[in-house]
């Protein structure tokens, strides 16, 4: 089972994402923003960073990268797609997920170990968690405040599409403490905190993030 990780100019977390996918037992494949095809991967991760320097809006230019056309088509066809941090911003800009990520409420770049609760464990990326499970993984971003209109928010809540919520104080002003959401089908997940930085205790605050990557392996085998 092959998981592709896309590197855009300015991406930072592609190596950790590749490593996490390998650690979970998948074959990790590096993809380039200018690639015209997905090299036969079964799932794709859009990693964190500052693609295209965050110019215009975070993720706004990456959305139109050549590789994204194939990614969007494949995701509409049900391919598992995970956007982490900047990747989440790209997914919102590409309208694969609703809403947008805006500047943190206090304008600070946050970098901390963050407690989350997994609320939807029925997605392609969260099946290895228990519903209601609390995890601690790094949160590091300047524009992580999830915003959407009231109607969208109500729909996300009613349809159980909030994948993860911040526990405790709201770190960035996200509506309803949203840390991650999914699409109706559950194959596309956007998450602000970084599971790929928490796959082992040597370098991360926990190994809590690994289950995102083992979950997708199961989803692909099904």
């Amino acid at each position: 089972m092959k998981v592709g990780v896309i590197t855009f100019p300015g991406t930072l977390d592609d190596r950790d994402a590749l490593r996490a996918a390998s650690a979970a037992g998948t074959t990790a494949i590096s993809l380039w923003h200018n690639d015209a095809d997905l090299k036969g991967v079964d799932a794709v991760i859009l990693p964190g960073g500052f693609s295209y320097g965050d110019y215009l809006r975070c993720g706004a230019i990456s959305r139109f990268a050549p590789v994204m056309e194939k990614v969007i088509d494949a995701a509409h066809g049900g391919m598992p797609l995970l956007g982490i941090c900047n990747g989440f911003q790209v997914l919102c800009e590409a309208h694969l997920l609703p809403g947008a990520l805006t500047r943190n409420k206090d304008l600070h770049f946050l970098c901390r170990d963050q407690k989350l609760v997994i609320e939807n464990n029925a997605t392609a990326w969260t099946s290895d968690y228990a519903k209601g499970q609390e995890i601690v993984i790094p949160l590091k971003n300047g524009e992580g405040s999830f915003q959407c209109d009231d109607k969208t928010l109500a729909a996300l809540e009613e349809e159980g599409r909030i994948v993860a919520r911040y526990v405790g104080e709201n770190p960035n002003g996200s509506r309803n403490l949203i840390a991650g959401i999914t699409n109706e089908r559950g194959n596309i997940v956007g998450l602000m905190p970084h599971p790929e930085h928490a796959i082992e205790t040597l370098t991360g605050p926990s190994a809590d993030g690994l289950a995102f990557f083992t979950s997708v392996l199961k989803a692909m085998v099904k």
Partner: protein, 81 residues
């Protein structure tokens, strides 16, 4: 030559922490007139001659797809001679 100006603002219901920070800095400098501040973006696009109706349509499309994110932002297109 004409300049097509696209001005982009966050929708009123979207929190604008940058505008809030600027608004809080003004009175520190003795400028006490501001009730609130919202911060936006301005694009100036130069073209040869005056824009045709078709070009204006294309610019509207470009504004809606790239220059602004209609999920959180509004935009206004004007032409400067």
């Amino acid at each position: 030559m004409a300049i097509i100006v696209v001005e982009v603002m966050l929708k009123p219901e979207i929190l604008d922490p940058q505008g809030v920070a600027v608004g809080a800095a003004l009175p520190r400098l003795g400028f006490t007139f501001a009730k609130s501040v919202r911060q936006g973006k301005r694009f100036e696009i130069r073209i040869d001659g005056q824009p045709t109706p078709q070009q204006m349509q294309e610019i509207e499309k470009a504004a809606a797809t790239l220059l602004a994110n209609p999920v959180i932002e509004t935009y206004v297109v004007t032409v400067q001679a």
